[in-house]
Symmetry: D2
Subunit: 140 residues, 4 copies
């Protein structure tokens, strides 16, 4: 039992380019959507509720993506998401996208915690820190 | 038991505009994705497999959408899809998008059947005609 | 000299589907972007500044689009935008998308005026009404 | 006179999230569109013509993006694009996005050259190699 969060995405015709594979520009969109889904699952609040109900946000400061194999509509895109590093005011996620058991891309995404409605860095709320630390400890 | 096909979409932060609701431009994207999912469910081939494996396509000639209530990330967007008219070389779908039991938008989308790799109109294959006629008869 | 507003869009590889033409879902996105650009040009405030600086918004209540010919990356997509009807609290635009002198799609888009941060209908500010009425009179 | 290629993008309401800034997922889309525009300007063939008329493609194997400042609709987004490394079968671009003279993001994007319709690596055509080498030499 790995317990790593997985988010499944339906890749469609509209995501594919004339080469018949998902256009590169959609892959960061899919990875980000999967991180949003991780928060919704783990914290019970995706980015929308986090901002409007919980008073903080997590804008991105960097992303790195490596594409190893094309994504197509022939299988669901299963995105595995896990936090891998928690700084004083930042968090880094690893996202791996797989189809039919084969890695298609993997990436690293770093956000900072900010107060809602501003872009001032802040430390995450205590229960968020606890949650992320537990999750990192459980995903060695 | 209605039997009408439903496709559920996760609306996220990235689909929302500064008014805090899903940006209008995403709603046709969601409706089209739901029609693609209808084909995948009913025919066993979404638009991608339809083109590459079955040799025909269904480009759109028109869409009409009415927006009655905002779409937000607070609930899944459930899109109900049903074919409502089958012409000699065309098909019209009705799509209704609901969240939390409330209609958010409804639309009508008309495609024509064409040969793969070209844009010449053609009649749909017989098993497609049968399938659609049965579905229309069952969704009065 | 027609004076009708034109907005030019670069259609790229990433907007095309495996049939080698712009995916249907991008066409409403392009039309909406062109209406946003019309406001920026005519009022001096696109939707963003309209909401944040001018205190009102114009969410859509309907769109109708007819697609007559495929859009490709081979030519700029020139979208002609003109208001065609002004109601007490609503406005309707006509958008025609052309490439290389050939109509590709045409559409009708209706918005309502609302107060910022809410979704209550309101009449447009007087200078907006004047501007739109003049433009409609000049585009018979 | 730097001669570095610049591509200007209109960021709109529809690209912004509820925090009032361009959604992170659109920034790779904008950067990729700018690289496509670089090819169109320098080679006379964007990705579309490259595939369909010139018989080769340049799928991406990696992207790295750092976000330093928010992108908004208040100014055009000017993306500066330059090739920075040419391998035997790969090319790396640097893209810097600026608004109002301020860096908003910068990124590195690596593609491989492949034959059209396949995903087999190949060396770029000679005139492409020449063009890129000259451009790299001119952008120290």
């Amino acid at each position: 039992m790995s317990g790593v969060f997985q988010h499944s995405i339906r890749v469609g015709w509209g995501n594919c380019d004339p080469a018949g594979i998902a256009y590169t520009g959609w892959l960061p969109m899919f990875a980000l959507q999967s991180i949003d889904a991780w928060w919704a699952d783990r914290l019970g609040a995706g980015w929308y509720e986090m901002e409007f109900d919980h008073g903080f946000g997590t804008p991105f400061v960097s992303m790195r993506l490596d594409f190893s194999s094309p994504v197509t509509p022939r299988h669901p895109l299963v995105c595995e998401v896990a936090p891998v590093r928690l700084g004083r005011t930042s968090i880094t996620f690893r996202v791996v996208g797989r189809q039919d058991g084969v890695d298609r891309f993997s990436g690293s995404f770093t956000s900072v915690f900010v107060t809602h409605g501003g872009l001032e860095k802040r430390e995450p709320p205590g229960h968020v820190r606890d949650l992320v630390e537990r999750e990192i400890a459980g995903n060695p």
